[in-house]
Symmetry: C2
Subunit: 210 residues, 2 copies
């Protein structure tokens, strides 16, 4: 999770989600994309998928004034080290589990975002947007495991992904050898499909073990 340390009151010194205000002629998604680029120093935020989480409009969210926020979630495969933007003391990547005690109502926003992304992983091909252009099935599985927080059986995961037409397609003739410690894994690309039929369920189905 990309967090920034606030430099000003309120909540000075506390960590918060990066954000900012709309310019007169941009949409909330364009604003979120611009803020993300300013915060990470990433050059090509234009191709990135931004998932709208929801809007937060309760009065009193910001003690200074009435603020309505629209939260977006983006997925970065190989994120660069962030550089703090304006009015932020520092910026840092933080694991989800340690990203608590945030300023404002950002704890809730972060939880909503995780739930939203996790649900989209079940029924859409969103997971490939989390991977580099060419990836192994092990990397794709790690996306699911880290967002869901659940270990998955590798052969079964493999079977279901490959059985879904258009989810992934093998790159013409390649296997990856350099860094790996075991047998080299085949490389795949994102396929043309956008929805997952049938959905990829969160493996250990809860509720009926007998």
């Amino acid at each position: 999770m990309l967090l920034v340390e606030r430099g000003q009151e309120p909540y000075a010194g506390r960590w918060a989600l990066p954000g900012g205000f709309l310019l007169p002629e941009e949409s909330a998604e364009e604003a979120a994309r611009r803020e993300l680029g300013e915060e990470t120093g990433l050059a090509d935020v234009s191709g990135l998928h931004l998932e709208q989480v929801r809007a937060y409009s309760e009065p009193g969210r910001d003690p200074r004034m009435r603020v309505v926020s629209v939260a977006f979630a983006a997925l970065l495969p190989d994120p660069p080290e962030p550089r703090p933007g304006t009015d932020a003391a520092e910026a840092r990547w933080t694991p989800y589990e340690r990203a608590t005690g945030l300023a404002f109502d950002h704890d809730r926003i972060l939880a909503n975002a995780r739930a939203r992304v996790g649900a989209r992983l079940e029924s859409t091909c969103l997971a490939t947007a989390f991977c580099p252009p060419e990836f192994t099935l092990g990397e794709l599985q790690q996306v699911y495991e880290s967002v869901w927080g659940t270990p998955l059986d590798r052969p079964n995961f493999r079977r279901k992904v490959l059985a879904t037409p258009g989810f992934v397609e093998p790159v013409p003739g390649g296997a990856r050898l350099t860094g790996g410690r075991g047998k080299p894994a085949a490389l795949y690309r994102a396929g043309p499909a956008t929805a997952l039929h049938p959905p990829l369920p969160r493996t250990p189905r809860e509720g009926h073990p007998a």
Copy 2:
């Protein structure tokens, strides 16, 4: 779908989704609830479930000024005849299929709302909120069929609903006879469950008939 006929420019005479502006000290959900009450004349909108669809912030959505809208969807079991509120010429219930050509970007909002509610029907117990306090399984099935636009096999629907613990529970000792033309159906109430495990899939699974 509850639609209002606009009495003022822009889009005078066109049908649109009901809506309004936030008061200084209310959240978007509170504002949506208030507007719904004003528009329908319904007394007890307080217990109604409001599902946030998403926010719409593109510049130029409203030709008069910059407007950011947060859309909500509510489900009314037995809706009363609406009465037009301020600056609306008329208000009317309209089937989803005929609710096209709306003012502003309301066609898109309506499609997003339908997709959102349809997705929530698969994985949550939201459908019971669409029914009266006591309902038959046939009525519950009609909720799914009308939102999804798909006919469902009645015995199979029945089996899955009853197999999900906490989804519905039978009312102590009753069957409904008066209006029905066939065999009287048993009455059920909403159960304590809130999530559906396993989810109730959109019956004819697309993609693998062989």
